[in-house]
Symmetry: C2
Subunit: 168 residues, 2 copies
DNA sequence: CTTTCTGCAAAAGCTTTGCACTCAA
DNA sequence: TTGAGTGCAAAGCTTTTGCAGAAAG
């Protein structure tokens, strides 16, 4: 990708996320490429979870051209920098999210939507929790179930079914 | 696979796990094939987590012949029957485990070993926990870190390094 | 100028699928 | 007897890799 003034400004900005990435880049003797910052800036615009495909589409839609290899490569870098996390929920493809405050993931097994929930009690529990012969780095709590929207839909479908049943 | 007297006995046994599978089979109008019971019996011999490849090897080593398609097919059946769960831990391939009592997974990010830990306090917390607009079915807690064995190894490696450094 | 990084296309996992044959019911 | 289940090989996805050319420092 050719140099891009907007991306250059972004890379030089003192946004804490950008700074953290710059520190990682410098500490590892890596290069500040336009692609890396273009990817980071798009990730920062996403709220919640995204797949590689979704990220690619966002970048494409903005008129940037970044190859799949570079996308995977950069995402891997962000994971090493502890700025991004990769989740694989039951029956779904890998999703990524920026590391922010600890939170619980509520995954609807019907529609696949993932919602983040802050849970200070649980966070406190985990902070205090020590495991035998094990040094904790980080953790993920995945809660699977049905979201209210899907529950409503299936209730309606059931009601319609019962009605049909009655008519017979 | 030809009928096998041992497998037939196993399928007819009143082991609760076998019974549960039989109920599922019957409730869904499925067939009691030798392959399905051969696979189930091998899964029941495994303690903890296993990959598809590991399961295949155990079955092969016992002189059974089951195709990969059937393996995946049956594993899927067991998941639908809520007897098996599929986990994808960070940076690893899918692993399966039989559903037993709820437990926490400790995953060593160095050696990849997974350890199950019962945690009654956490179980009680989750039993009481209700999420807004969400109906919980089940949950998984993954804790990533370093196991004591890997911690010891890296400490030794560091000590050796320091010594070398000193000699210079 | 040197070396890392990127893009491409090809390869490499793991998992699923289509189809002919087998076997449970 | 008959349709569900199995095995095989081929296809499908996501992710990784090798290599030539581009660009960061």
């Amino acid at each position: 990708m050719r140099t891009d003034p907007n991306i250059e400004d972004f890379a030089a900005s003192n946004n804490p996320v950008v700074r953290k990435f710059n520190e990682f880049i410098d500490a590892h003797g890596l290069r500040r490429t336009t692609e890396r910052y273009a990817i980071l800036s798009h990730i920062m615009n996403i709220n919640g979870h995204f797949t590689i495909e979704e990220l690619q589409q966002l970048i494409d839609a903005d008129g940037f051209r970044v190859s799949r290899s570079t996308l995977y490569n950069t995402v891997e870098l962000l994971i090493e920098a502890k700025m991004l996390r990769r989740h694989v929920f039951e029956g779904m493809q890998a999703q990524y999210e920026r590391i922010t405050l600890p939170h619980t993931h509520l995954i609807c097994t019907t529609c696949g939507r993932v919602k983040e929930v802050r849970d200070p009690n649980f966070a406190a529990f985990m902070n205090a929790r020590r495991f035998n012969a094990f040094n904790t780095d980080h953790y993920s709590l995945y809660v699977y179930g049905t979201c209210s929207s899907c529950a409503r839909k299936s209730k309606r479908a059931k009601a319609a079914d019962d009605k049909k049943e009655k008519r017979k």
